[in-house]
Amino acid sequence: MNIVALGAAFIWAMISIYTILGGIDFGSSFWRWYFSRRKNWEAEEVAHSFVSPTWELVNSFLVLIPVAIVGLFPGAAYAYGSILLIPASMVLGLLILRGAYWQFGYASEQKRGPIIWVVGLTGLILPGLFATILGLSQGGYVSRGTQGAYVLPLAKFLFSPQVLVFLAFGILMALYLSALFLAQYAKQAGSLETFAAFRRSAQWVGPLSAVSGILAIVSSMHGQLDMSHRLVTWWPILGLSFVMFLVGYAGLFRPVGMTKVRMSLWATVIQLVLAQIAYGCAHYPYVLYPYLTFSDAASNHSMFVTTLVIFVAGFALLAPGFYLFRSLFIKDVQSVVSQTASRGTVTPKRG
């Protein structure tokens, strides 16, 4: 494996991690809204107690990705930067609204209503918008104007059926993953009724997310990277991914008391990771088909290596801090458990 491929794998790994963390984070805030509309306050509280402590961490992970891309593949940052002004600004606008409403929620309990729906609605749309970038990267939308500048006809992009499929896939995937996560979370807290509510949600979103995922892979337009054929090479990984989906989904249909939702959750995480590995391998070596490959976009050798070293060293240095935080958090949770057990509210267990 040459170093450019290593860098590409690194970026793709960070995007995969963000897909899972962000999917759970965004989806949970939607479920919070959904259950507050149905006046299922316990489920609302489960979703709330998970999202609150994690969104800042998830958001700082989001910043890692563009910064890493600039250091490793400045050509890609240039190409996507020149065409994504409007779409990226839409995403930023939603993120700003979401983050601000979260923060202001701490100041006042009385404004809960608008906070829940703003955070929930932005949480619903954002993963879909992120997923549309995959459609964009497969080519067919961007053209090169005079003097080699990249041009993206925005209307053609936003209203293309394929992009809408990616949008739906991003949304449904986040909803499925987060419903599973929250079901497991509720079960840990010993709240079976809430667990059943999230399990029901997962049961109907699951197949929709799988179908939209398959549609997203097979839908390719003229002039695009032919993903469905390129993926055939990677069929064992893709097949295993599908098996993992079936395992996770089937696990949801055992009687409530016996459901091993933790197993379903992990099977689904593995399903996603495998699917992303297959997709990433089939997409390589293109960053933006057909104009840009990873090696064209790569930075000079010293910046490339330094960037990789900084990221590895940075995570290694911060690891003890995260460990200390986690141990504090768990102790804290144990004390909260006993205090809130009588009220039936939920007790987070994860750091």
């Binding site: 609150s52 600039v70 250091g71 930067g81 960037t307 804290d332």
Partner: protein, 459 residues
């Protein structure tokens, strides 16, 4: 040509507004951790609970502002790539290292902020102080690293340019570029200073209220004393470093210094002109106070030292002439802050009491706002006075801008978004402190901290 100009200016305006907005949050985010650290140390030394309460209340402000700062910071990071793609392509090859390290510095800060908030009373005094220290190191390192990219834009070293493309790149020399030491020191110390004055303005405003209990007055008097001490020391340091920055400009960016001082003609015994309007028509500063020889002395440490004027440079690379006013606003506010701190301490030593007369409290209250305006003026000066360059001498702003049109619509959208966000921040801060008055801490201090820890979950 006209359309192109509009496009560049729109992009500059959008990015400028975004940064100008983010700078407020970022500056407070740098200053408050230091104050928390100092308050924790003073609390441990003097065993006075007041300082601990001060630290706890400042953490609330920090939590809120860091939360908003994250989203505005994300906006800045992404906007850099979508508004200035050509610039970022160069950054990605030469000076991306500080950006990368900054993320981890930020994570360090949030991590120890979370530990500090979470741990609450369960942490030992030593751990609390250490957490505050790491928080402060993280936030200061963030500021230093981001400033490093800016200082590279002023003095791009460690790279050879062939037709505008970077070759023979030396990452270390780019990182430790000549502007780095003075610029980072100036940015960091002035942020400490501004936040100390903002917090002393809060204390002054509360002392001016008539309905305060004697405990509340005692709290505000002591926080005023603490913040005025920090503000006094840092304002003097800021002036000292500011002077070094001036000497640095004389050597490395003489064009910027000439514009800052409104010096049109290269000359020995250059006078310092305070205030006035730099006019291209008369090739001089109209109005203002002229102090003979002072500029030569400040720039070269000799009364007859030669200072390069704007006439030394082609007129199409001159920065806009109004930067002279921005520069004088920054220096004027900085000097005023020193004067206020000196007045406060002279009064305190003379009167031998913690009480401060109303007129001085009013002045201190206004100084809090001025200090923040000073920071904004300083950054505006730094950026306008590098025009037309985005990387000094190498790439102009119009070469760096995105080819995408329609920046105008975005401008309207983002400006309204920032407006709403600013109002909401103030609303949330007011709301929080109205719902959590000081009495809550003193009477039920312990129970509050327990509650506080639980809120830590949410942070």
């Amino acid at each position: 040509m006209v359309r192109k100009m509009n496009h560049v200016e729109m992009a500059r305006a959008l990015f400028g507004i975004t940064l100008g907005y983010h700078i407020v949050y970022a500056t407070i985010g740098v200053g408050i951790p230091l104050l928390i650290f100092i308050a924790e140390i003073v609390a441990a030394r003097t065993k006075q609970q007041v300082y601990q309460v001060f630290a706890v209340r400042m953490v609330r402000i920090l939590l809120l502002l860091v939360g908003v700062g994250i989203v505005t910071g994300t906006t800045v990071a992404v906007m850099l790539s979508v508004l200035w793609p050509t610039f970022m392509r160069v950054v990605g090859q030469v000076i991306n290292v500080p950006f990368e390290m900054e993320i981890f510095a930020f994570m360090l800060e949030s991590l120890f902020l979370a530990i500090y908030v979470y741990g609450g009373k369960r942490l030992s005094v030593k751990t609390r102080i250490l957490s505050a220290l790491f928080m402060s190191i993280g936030s200061t390192a963030s500021a230093v690293l981001i400033t490093d990219v800016n200082s590279f834009m002023n003095t791009p070293t460690g790279v050879t340019w062939v037709n505008g493309s970077p070759t023979q790149i030396d990452l270390l020399r780019a990182f430790f570029n000549p502007a780095f030491p003075t610029e980072l020191a100036h940015v960091v110390v002035s942020a400490y200073m501004a936040v100390a004055f903002v917090m002393s303005a809060v204390a002054a405003k509360n002392l001016l209220k008539r309905d305060q209990t004697s405990e509340e007055r005692a709290y505000h008097r002591q926080t005023l004393s603490l913040t005025m001490a920090v503000g006094g020391v840092t304002s003097v340091l800021t002036a000292f470093i500011g002077d070094l920055s001036g000497k640095f400009l004389a050597k490395f960016q003489p064009e910027k210094l000439a514009a800052a001082e409104g010096l049109f003609h290269t000359t020995r015994n250059a006078p310092l002109v305070i205030g006035g309007i730099a006019s291209a028509a008369t090739q001089s500063v109209v109005g203002g106070i002229h102090v003979p020889d002072l500029l030569s002395w400040l720039a070269t440490e000799r009364l007859d030292g030669k200072v390069l004027g704007l006439d030394h440079f082609p007129q199409n690379t001159w920065p806009p002439l109004f930067v002279h006013l921005l520069f004088d606003t920054m220096v004027g506010i900085g000097s005023f802050c020193i004067a206020v701190a000196v007045t406060y301490w002279v009064y305190r030593f003379r009167a031998k009491t913690l009480d401060v007369p109303g007129w001085l409290l009013r002045v201190i209250f206004v100084t809090g706002f001025l200090a923040m305006i000073g920071i904004e003026a300083g950054w505006c000066f730094a950026e306008f006075a590098r025009q037309p360059w985005i990387i000094y001498g190498v790439m102009t702003v119009s070469q760096a801008v995105t080819p995408s049109a329609s920046v105008g619509i975005l401008f309207v959208g983002f400006v309204s978004l920032y407006g709403v966000l600013l109002i909401a921040t103030i609303w949330a801060l007011k709301r929080y402190f109205r719902n959590h008055p000081l009495s809550e801490y003193q009477v039920t201090y312990t129970t509050h901290v327990v509650k506080h820890e639980k809120e830590g979950n949410l942070a």
